[in-house]
């Protein structure tokens, strides 16, 4: 009899505990009397320490100035973030403020009414703060659905020490690049770190080759349908990719490596070159966790010209992530204020504390900045063209075809002609 009583008591306690744990979550928010802004971003402490710290500081400052508001943060890594966004938007549970990419990525959210328009912020506090072209990428039908935080250009970062050891210099032409690759390969040094499991990394190489061979028009007109993807320049760029693969330019097993693995190879001096965009600058300038010796030995060069063609001032890059406000948020006013506050604070802190380039205008003169940062900023300011990343420009399903084809092209499973044809078919749908 006693055992039965003890058992039912235990079962009862268990049930109560379950119910309580279910309840407590939602109680917190309203019982404090504070408004809660749910904020989701993609800079985890482990891989983007500087960014992460700046975000924490901005949130603390915001909460100090607005004592009636609390910001709840959720942090995910890049790929996880992309997955979660899809799930949340399908279930209608987008956070009040979150990060998004521009153009093709943004479109379905804008057209589906998931993001709020932020033109009022552009007319008010943030008038004239953005570099021209950055907010345009976040517009759909003339209305702005996101405010950009980052502005990036991709360059080839290289280890000057390794280059010197092996007697090679930064290449200015594609032929020089092949020679560098061959020399390094003969000496047993991995020439280029590439993690093509993530696919967009290989896409950077392809886009630059397409830009150099076909000019800025080739790729863009294929995408906006005023031209065709089977343009000889685009096929030629695909051929050059396979030439590089045949020359052993990329690290072993690159098609199965993630970008993080490739990055760590470059950071551990196991590879000589790494094509990446300026969001990675802190690792080569200000990040104290990276050995000073390595940071001092990193330089960058613009993507080489091919067969004498190519404007060296044309870059692959563009606005990076931006902030959005969810249309269905019940704290929209506070969320918009947070976005405005964040963008302005980010504009200053990202330069001084992280060493990345924000989308808001930077006054490089008055601040004490690392030399590489100043050099990159100069390049950006004198750029004649910035082509937005293909997988962001394209709509989700075509972007996936592009990414898959990149992996097939690099893995030599698709011929350059098939590569072009598949793109053309996907774009024609």
């Amino acid at each position: 009899m006693l055992r039965k009583k003890a058992f039912s008591l235990l079962a009862g306690l268990f049930a109560v505990a379950l119910v309580l744990s279910g309840c407590s979550g939602s109680e917190d928010a309203s019982s404090d009397g504070k408004k809660v802004i749910k904020f989701m971003h993609l800079w985890p402490e482990g891989s983007s320490k500087k960014h992460h710290d700046i975000v924490e500081n901005i949130i603390t400052d915001f909460e100090k100035e607005h004592k009636d508001v609390k910001v709840e943060v959720e942090v995910l890594s890049n790929e996880q973030y992309k997955d979660k966004m899809k799930v949340l938007s399908a279930s209608g549970e987008l956070p009040d403020v979150g990060m998004t990419w521009s153009a093709g990525y943004l479109e379905p959210y804008a057209n589906g009414g998931k993001f709020a328009t932020l033109d009022d912020l552009l007319e008010g506090d943030l008038k004239d703060s953005f570099v021209s072209g950055t907010t345009e990428a976040y517009q759909v039908d003339g209305k702005t659905y996101g405010l950009p935080l980052e502005l990036n250009i991709a360059s080839v970062y290289y280890n000057k020490a390794i280059f010197k050891e092996n007697g090679v210099e930064a290449p200015k032409t594609y032929d020089e690049l092949i020679k560098v690759v061959e020399t390094l390969d003969k000496k047993g040094v991995e020439p280029i770190a590439l993690g093509n499991k993530d696919k967009w990394t290989g896409s950077l190489w392809y886009m630059y080759l397409a830009d150099r061979i076909g000019g800025t028009k080739a790729l863009n007109s294929a995408i906006d349908r005023s031209g065709s993807f089977e343009d000889p320049a685009l096929v030629s760029a695909a051929e050059k990719v396979q030439e590089l693969v045949d020359a052993n330019a990329f690290v072993d097993g690159f098609n199965g490596l993630s970008d993080e693995e490739a990055k760590s190879m470059f950071m551990n001096e196991q590879a000589a070159m790494y094509l990446i965009a300026t969001w990675d600058l802190p690792n080569y300038t200000t990040n104290e966790d990276v050995p000073q010796e390595f940071r001092d030995s990193v330089g960058f060069f613009d993507f080489p010209s091919v067969d004498g063609k190519g404007d060296m001032n044309s870059y692959v890059g563009g606005p990076g992530v931006g902030l959005f406000v969810s249309e269905s948020s019940d704290v929209k006013e506070e969320a918009k204020e947070f976005v405005s506050f964040f963008t302005q604070e980010w504009g200053e802190k990202s330069v001084t504390d992280a060493g990345v380039i924000p989308a808001t205008k930077v006054d490089g003169e008055s601040l004490d900045l690392p030399q590489m940062y100043v050099d990159v900023l100069d390049k950006l300011n004198s750029a004649t063209n910035i082509t937005l990343y293909a997988d962001v420009q394209l709509s989700a399903d075509v972007a996936q075809v592009h990414l898959d084809q990149i992996q097939a092209l690099f893995g030599k499973e698709a011929t350059p002609e098939d590569f072009a044809k598949t793109h053309e078919q996907a774009l024609s749908k």
Partner: protein
């Protein structure tokens, strides 16, 4: 007591909570998936009814059938590996030294999360720095195989951690089943002069046939819908070389934003698994009742 148990209404009430839970968590979402398969939906905008178009496209989609073939390969390998697990369990169940410890060691992979196992094996398979490549280098191999990027071996490379993950589970099941066989039967066989091999094959094995049939179904069905390691280790690549049905469904829905088509694939996966289960049950059905 028997009055309570024989009352159909009382039985219904006792079954109701579990039935509700399963319906809400499993049956209804299954039907909804089939329903979404009839739509053209990108997950964000409104749904558009297009009837059986997604299902017809799926049946003609070579990528889908490739992924189905990969799933079937995995199921085959899992079923075959059961023989290895059975052998190990037979050895463990006999009184060898350290059987207890070995049993616990075999169970460890089951306790690790799939993602942890995937990360571990990614590092093992790294062509430049991984343990496997380094060890092969000691034995004089010039260039180790590119485990996760060579499309001809990537699928098999992932099979190894998958089988490793579930080995402990099946070994434990077989071990428990073997331990249930009454000692008296084994002793009687020993007295009659049977060798250990004969005891294993002719006495122990037939007596645990019921359990073996269950593990075959578990292994095959589990492999057909497997997702975890494939997704984390290669994302189905390179170029679809390691794509299985579940990862293909995930990619369609979340990467390509084609929830309608992805749901159709998901529903087809369910149908395939159901058919395979029915076939296996028919093939392994026997009229004998095992009693001891």
């Amino acid at each position: 007591m028997s009055k309570v148990m024989s009352n159909k209404w009382i039985i219904a009430i006792y079954v109701l909570p579990a039935l509700l839970l399963i319906s809400i968590l499993i049956f209804i979402p299954l039907l909804l998936t089939g329903y979404y398969g009839l739509m053209d939906w990108d997950g964000v905008s409104a749904m558009e009814f297009i009837g059986l178009e997604n299902y017809i496209t799926a049946l003609q989609d070579s990528l889908f059938w490739d992924s189905a073939w990969h799933s079937v390969l995995l199921a085959l390998f899992s079923a075959l590996s059961l023989a290895i697990y059975l052998t190990i369990a037979l050895i463990l169940a006999s009184k060898i030294k350290g059987a207890n410890l070995l049993r616990k060691i075999y169970l460890i992979p089951m306790l690790l999360s799939s993602v942890a196992i995937a990360q571990l094996w990614i590092k093992v398979y790294n062509p430049s720095n991984g343990i496997l490549s380094t060890v092969l280098g000691w034995f004089g191999a010039e260039k180790a195989p590119l485990w996760l990027s060579d499309t001809s071996i990537v699928l098999y490379a992932i099979f190894i951690p998958i089988l490793w993950q579930y080995a402990g589970f099946y070994i434990l099941i077989y071990y428990a089943a073997l331990k249930n066989i009454p000692e008296s039967l084994i002793e009687a066989a020993k007295i009659d002069g049977a060798t250990p091999l004969q005891i294993a094959l002719k006495i122990k094995l037939p007596l645990i046939m019921g359990v073996v049939k269950v593990t075959i179904v578990l292994a095959i069905v589990g492999s057909l819908k497997y997702f975890d390691l494939i997704y984390v280790m290669t994302g189905g690549g390179p170029n679809g070389a390691s794509e299985v049905m579940a990862s293909y469904m995930y990619k369609l829905a979340f990467s390509t934003s084609n929830f309608g088509y992805g749901s159709a694939i998901g529903f087809l996966l369910l149908l395939i698994t159901l058919i395979v289960t029915l076939v296996i049950n028919k093939l392994t059905a026997s009229k004998d009742k095992i009693q001891y």
